[in-house]
């Protein structure tokens, strides 16, 4: 039915059957089925893990202030960078970017009452703290120290700690897979009437592309880690050359997931930017379809580039060239996005709010990280840069400068929707400048240190400092700068506490945005929408009236919750209906 042509179409569907809101503390806040509460749970968990992983990083930076590296033992240093990378990638970025923002925003943007499988959503969240406990328990038996990539043979030589690492990441993998499954089913089946694929908000498009990667790549990682676990625990020789196995096989299996995994963080980031820019430029997004389809093509191409992490590992030259070329190809959809964003800003009426500041900064920092990625994808250049601080600089520009910056943009943008309060703009701007200065000061010098040949993952760089005396100054500069980022996160935490207590009331739509989540009260009511809205057009045309029918009317009563219906889409028990 073309709903646009028949706005009178009455819906009668599962959308209209809703359960009453739970009242007990446990059901409401702990084992909640509500996607908005789960989003906040993901946020708090991710932020706590970020503080832990960040403190590992700071301990490493303290070690590196002295080229001799006397602050901690070398093995401890190895454990620190291993745990820093592992926790940041799997327990901070995935919960924050896909878990928190995806859960909060996507169901609201498509006009659904919840995700397709709320119970599974709850399970996905609770697997994250479980994985954290498994991972941190390894500190009692000797934490893993083989780097976040855990390449064999080193990783199979480190005892129980390595096994716990595998189990923890398999648990995170199951959680991500279930989230991907849940989000895909939600986007496939639960869009509001009239919301065709090309009317979906761009953050939802990005979440869709991410969910595809989550579902298909994460299982492959679980496979790789299961094989690694079997070798560690039962001595199964997948990666043991003495019995015909191959350590390079692990690298193939690992990167088949872990390269797409980078897009798991960065695609939602692209989605955030595509929402924030038009709102604060007061202008239609430029190239809607190109942005949407470039997300998909990045997701698809991302499955065919993994071996660019392995150029020096000894893969055949005829294999290196296609991987180099396909990696370059990813520059095309990414470039389409960057230029579409800039064209969106062109001629707009820009408001420099905190989310907009982060979004604008993202375009710069992410482009920079993307361009150094082109260097690394180039086989001859990579042979020089591989394993140096150039890689660390590149990766952190993409992840901290890209995913985390965009997460902060999204966080500042949607905080009023999640809590009903505005964040303090002054504290927000202060946090922004601290973060950006810290980011640049910490990660920019890594590029030239790496080009000069400073190897990554070394607990002491005494030898390198003899060849390149400036290294001591730059490392101290990086260490001092890195504390600015810590300060920025603390400012953020203060901002949250202050604003939750005394922030300005947000109202439905504090930013004058046009996507569906801003059409309902803040925080969103338990059922999200009193009536499921009908969507007539894309949300981004600021010159047109809002493209929705059937929007909430504050004077309407809520529909009466029915016991037999299923807001949570549990099947109707047999014999009852």
């Amino acid at each position: 039915v073309d709903v646009a042509a028949h706005p009178h179409v009455e819906q009668h569907s599962a959308h209209d059957h809703i359960h009453p809101e739970p009242t007990g503390f446990i059901a409401k806040y702990v084992f909640s089925l509500d996607h908005k509460v789960i989003a906040i749970q993901y946020f708090i968990t991710g932020l706590l893990f970020m503080l832990i992983a960040g403190s590992f990083a700071e301990l490493m930076r303290i070690q590196l202030m002295d080229p001799k590296g006397t602050f901690m033992g070398y093995h401890t240093f190895n454990q620190m960078f291993t745990m820093h990378g592992t926790v940041m990638v799997w327990l901070v970025l995935i919960p924050l970017v896909t878990g928190s923002l995806g859960n909060l925003v996507m169901p609201l943007q498509i006009g659904a009452r919840d995700v397709a499988f709320p119970w599974l959503n709850m399970l996905s969240f609770w697997l994250i703290p479980v994985a954290g406990l498994i991972l941190f328990s390894s500190f009692f038996v000797g934490a893993p120290a083989a780097g976040w990539t855990e390449y064999p043979p080193v990783s199979v030589m480190q005892g129980v700690g390595g096994e716990l690492w595998c189990l923890a990441i398999i648990v995170v993998g199951v959680s991500s897979t279930l989230t991907g499954l849940n989000f895909l089913a939600t986007i496939f089946k639960m869009r509001a009437p009239g919301m065709t694929w090309t009317r979906m908000p761009l953050f939802t498009w990005a979440t869709f592309a991410t969910a595809l990667i989550n579902l298909f790549a994460t299982v492959a990682l679980s496979g790789a880690l299961l094989a690694l676990y079997l070798q560690q625990a039962f001595d199964v020789p997948f990666f043991d050359p003495a019995r015909g196995g191959s350590p390079i096989l692990f690298q193939h299996m690992f990167w088949f997931y872990s390269h797409p995994a980078v897009y798991i963080f960065i695609l939602p980031a692209f989605g955030v930017i595509s929402e924030v820019l038009p709102t604060f430029a007061r202008k239609t997004i430029f190239g809607y379809k190109m942005i949407a389809f470039s997300s998909l093509s990045i997701a698809i191409l991302g499955f065919a580039v993994w071996a660019h992490h392995m150029f020096p590992s000894g893969i055949a030259p005829w294999l290196q060239i296609p991987f180099m070329i396909i990696t370059y190809l990813i520059g095309i959809p990414t470039g389409i996005k960057i230029f579409s964003w800039m064209a969106t800003l062109w001629g707009g009426r820009i408001q420099f709010t905190t989310p907009m500041m982060y979004a604008l900064a993202f375009i710069g920092t992410f482009s920079f990280g993307g361009i150094t990625g082109v260097f690394l994808a180039c086989v001859p250049a990579d042979l020089h840069e591989h394993g140096s601080y150039f890689v660390v600089g590149h990766f952190h520009y993409v992840v901290a400068g890209g995913a985390v910056t965009a997460f902060f943009a999204g966080f500042n943008y949607w905080f009023p929707k999640a809590t009903g309060r505005m964040l303090s703009e002054k504290l927000g701007q202060a946090g922004f400048w601290l973060f950006m200065l810290g980011l640049t000061g910490t990660f920019l010098p890594m590029h030239w240190l790496g080009l000069e040949g400073m190897p990554r993952r070394y607990a002491s760089y005494e030898v390198f400092a003899k060849a390149y005396p400036d290294a001591v100054f730059w490392n101290r500069f990086e260490s001092v700068s890195s504390f600015l980022m810590v300060a920025s996160v603390l400012v953020l935490a203060i901002n949250i506490i202050v604003s939750m207590r005394s922030g300005r009331r947000a109202g439905n739509n504090p930013w004058g945005a046009r996507t569906l989540e801003w059409m309902i009260s803040s925080p969103a009511p338990y059922y999200n929408f009193r009536k499921i809205p009908i969507v007539l057009d894309r949300p981004y045309d600021f010159n047109e009236p809002l493209p929705y029918r059937n929007l909430d009317d504050e004077t309407d009563p809520y529909p009466v919750p029915t016991e037999a219906g299923g807001m949570h889409r549990q099947p109707v028990p047999a014999g009852r209906a």
Binding site: S13, L215, F234, G244, S246, L249
Partner: protein, 214 residues
């Protein structure tokens, strides 16, 4: 139209009855079923990737090995017994056929036939697992001795685990069906069970080819 025989008219009546059941599905249930079917198919796709990652490992190890089956302690490992594997495969594929008829009987409201077909499926599933147990005990290699053993036991073990879970799943479905959990028009659980069982069959086609025929 020709005059209908009593048998044909009873078939027509039954058909009309089934049609009525199909088309008078509660819209809430229909939508829920649709969402659950999507989720279940996505789950099977994801599960498929898990097998594919181990199959990739097997292909990589096999194609990079100097000889296959590999040589351990100076002796080349024997190939697997194709005849026994083929027999066991027939047992599993047969269970796919019986599962199909179980679901069809349910759709046609034939409870007795449904129970018989589903029971046959469960028996064949257990038969396959027993065959696998025999295969494991008489295998010419060990799990940890070579990449052949590592791939074979891990992949078929993963598959066997899926069959084992499937058998339990089918037993639960049988109990639920006989307790009246499913009705003529509301039987998504049975559809999911059938899909899962066919999925396990299809994976075995790949594994049988890779380990026995190749």
């Amino acid at each position: 139209m020709a005059v209908s025989t009593p048998a044909a008219s009873s078939a027509l009546l039954e058909h009309a009855l089934v049609e009525a059941r199909y088309h008078n599905v509660d819209p809430v249930y229909a939508e829920t079923r649709d969402i659950r079917l999507t989720g279940f198919v996505l789950f099977l796709l994801a599960d498929c990737i898990l097998f594919m990652s181990f199959i990739f490992a097997y292909l990589y190890l096999r194609t990079s090995a100097p000889t296959w089956p590999p040589v351990v302690n100076g002796h080349q490992i024997e190939r697997l017994d194709v005849a026994f594997g083929a027999m066991n495969s027939i047992v599993l594929f047969g269970s796919g056929v019986t599962m199909h008829y179980a679901l069809e009987s349910w759709k046609h409201l034939q409870r007795t036939a449904f129970n018989a077909w589903l029971g046959a499926t469960i028996v064949l599933g257990i038969g396959f697992l027993l065959g696998q147990a025999h295969e494991y005990s008489s295998a010419p290699m060990t799990w940890t001795g070579s990449t052949f053993g590592a791939s074979f036991f891990t992949l078929t073990g993963l598959h066997g685990f899926h069959v084992f879970v499937g058998v339990i799943y089918l037993v639960i479905l049988m109990i639920q069906a006989n307790r009246g959990v499913y009705t003529g028009s509301k039987y998504f659980g049975l559809v999911a069970g059938t899909l899962y069982w066919h999925f396990v069959d299809v994976i075995w086609v790949a594994l049988f080819f890779l380990f026995y025929l190749w």
